[in-house]
Symmetry: C2
Subunit: 211 residues, 2 copies
DNA sequence: CAATCCCGCTAACAGTCGTTAGTGCGGATA
DNA sequence: TATCCGCACTAACGACTGTTAGCGGGATTG
């Protein structure tokens, strides 16, 4: 058990958690050693245990912080009146884009490394994610019924929205000339409106099937 | 060095490579032990080395097979005459969708675990990926110039297309009631046309910014 | 000033890692 | 029949894994 539970300011602990998120992202959970983590905050491996309980606990913290933030946003959004389902979808998309822009390390760990969670946490995490996706799927179905959203397979739409934002990982590496604000707008716009230019009103999706 | 280089049929070797792809996907490269891999093909860990060179070699094989298949498809596509840039983009999207549907293990390893490649392979892999994305970006830019593609940030469009298909990973777990064919059509349609229903011709993207 | 406690350290643990060496069985080859 | 070779085995290697025990210095508290 970590000894400094009652520490007045957990500055060191937060520093460790931040470094863990970065390392878990870069090298994976099982690819990251406690000696790596310790070195990245300038202490010895054993000293980490003055601040944390275990390596698994660090992963758990990161994963569930992200999961909680997602479900909190969704709950707030559903409590907001006066929004049609398309606007709700846009808000959800925008929320995910911002998470990926502002908290890449944590989000990537929660997305890629959650599988290293131990039971019963793994099951709990998967359960919460399933609930979340099901709720978003409900909003999409509603949008389709209302005629605001194109009549696509709702399940596929959830998958696509929640995956499309993962492209931001690349952006983070090679910033190019695209600002965060421009990235956000382009990506939300792209998901909502697609890539095809429809100014001429043509509704034909595409020609014959391609290889 | 593996002893069976001159084996007439490398059935066992292929079996190992397939099992490796599945394990690397499920548990990550560094989370997978040679004893896990050996057990999954029914032999002892040391016996693996009658067929393969090293664990790192297995990863290298998987990653570069996928990379090669991608660049081959792109080369073939560019050699195909009579396709406008929107159709080319659709073909690229469809190709990625199919790869994710039919070869999930390998594709996921190449996408998530490539970071465990050793130099100089890691750099080579990243280089090839950069080249590939730049070529696709070129097609998008051309589509925008021709008025076939909406005037979005081309870089963001590449990122989004190549990431959106990752949603197929979820689909693989919980098949739900969506067939592979329906998934492919929905996803290509979604990326090309977006989620918004534009039958009324309204071109206003969205209202005021949302939280 | 004395007592407490945070927090770094070294040493060590039991276990696992990828990999090599060497052995022997069984079928194909000469 | 004698020889070879593919392929599985056991045993073992040095390095590395997450974690615990215990020590001591320095700041904080009574």
């Amino acid at each position: 058990m970590a000894r400094n539970i009652r520490t007045r300011e957990g500055g060191r602990r937060e520093e460790i958690a931040t470094a863990a998120a970065r390392l878990f992202r870069e090298k994976g959970f099982s690819g990251t050693g406690m000696r790596d983590l310790a070195g990245s905050v300038g202490i010895e491996a054993a000293s980490l245990y003055n601040h944390i309980d275990s390596k698994a606990g660090l992963l758990r913290e990161i994963c569930f912080r992200i999961a909680d933030d997602c479900s909190t946003h969704l709950r707030d959004l559903e409590a907001t009146p006066g929004l049609d389902s398309l606007r709700r979808l846009e808000s959800i998309t925008r929320f995910h884009v911002r998470m990926w822009i502002e908290r890449l390390d944590e989000v990537l760990v929660a997305t890629n490394e959650f599988r290293s969670l131990e039971e019963p946490w793994l099951e709990k995490f998967l359960h919460e994610r399933r609930i979340y996706m099901r709720q978003v799927e409900g909003i999409i179905s509603q949008g389709i019924r209302e005629g605001l959203v194109r009549p696509l397979e709702p399940y596929v739409v959830v998958l696509t929205i929640m995956s499309a934002v993962r492209g931001i990982e690349f952006w983070h590496r090679s910033r190019k000339n695209v600002s965060a604000a421009s990235l956000e707008e382009s990506m939300v716009d792209l998901i909502v409106n697609g890539i095809r230019n429809d100014t001429d009103g043509t509704s034909d999706t595409h020609g014959p099937a391609l290889p």
